[in-house]
Amino acid sequence: MTGIDLAFYVLAGFSIAGGLGLAVTRSVVHGALFLILALMGVGGVFFTLLADFLALVQVLLYAGGVTILMLFAMMLTQVREQPEATNNPQRPWAALASLAFFGAVTATIVVTPWPRNLPEGAQHVEFVDIAGTLFTRWAVPFEIASLLLLVALIGAIIVAREATE
């Protein structure tokens, strides 16, 4: 087992621990902090899977941006520590459904034959290659994604602002 393998298992453990914390914690603010742990773990997993650019994007955008936005939303909605607001009577059914889903997916993964290892000579993907591919082969989806972001930005402003009349 090389260092990268060990790093993968440790980081995957961190992200699953964060996900478990998010699933069971009684406090919404603790949930956000557990989410940061899980997302940082996922970023580390990206790095061990040779996706350097995505690892950086994950840390900057998710762990830095999205969770801070969520903490802001909690501040503005004056979240209180009420157990009845965080948990639902359908909790046992939810646990059953997600366990059944996990079991089914894991069984499928185990019985399917996969290529055992990374192909020989697999390299970390260079930023310059990602940029080149994104702006040539995937240029149209890129433009559509930027349009989507613009629409979401304007929509969020219109939905969230106070009524003026």
């Binding site: 993968f8 298992y9 995957a12 699933a23 997993v45 936005l69 607001a85 993964i109 990374l118 930005l153």
Partner: protein, 102 residues
């Protein structure tokens, strides 16, 4: 090297935890966090398959970038809606947002 199965099982575990969070929580922000966790689990799968099955084109990594873009747009809009809900009803509890219920 890391076997592909282990990566996929980690992603499946994260997806199931996100699914449980979405189904079992009432607070709108917690439900949103569960959705983010599920999207991240899917991104792990995209990146794993990009590395193991398609190392020359890394199409999976490009797809993961688009998933992140859509997820961020979704978070921005959803938080705006939650803010609006809180102003109207003074709560972020999803069970009380039932005015469109038949």
């Amino acid at each position: 090297m890391i076997p592909l199965e282990h990566v996929l099982i980690v992603a499946a575990a994260l997806f199931s935890l996100g699914l449980y969070t979405v189904l079992a929580r009432r607070h709108a922000v917690l439900v949103l966090m569960g959705i983010e966790l599920m999207l991240n689990a899917v991104n792990i799968n995209f990146v794993a398959f990009a590395g193991y099955a398609d190392p020359d084109n890394f199409t999976g990594q490009i797809f993961a970038i688009f998933v992140i873009v859509v997820a961020v747009a979704e978070v921005g809009l959803a938080l705006a809606i939650i803010l609006r809900l809180f102003r109207l009803r003074a709560t972020a509890n999803l069970d009380e947002a039932n005015s469109m219920r038949w």
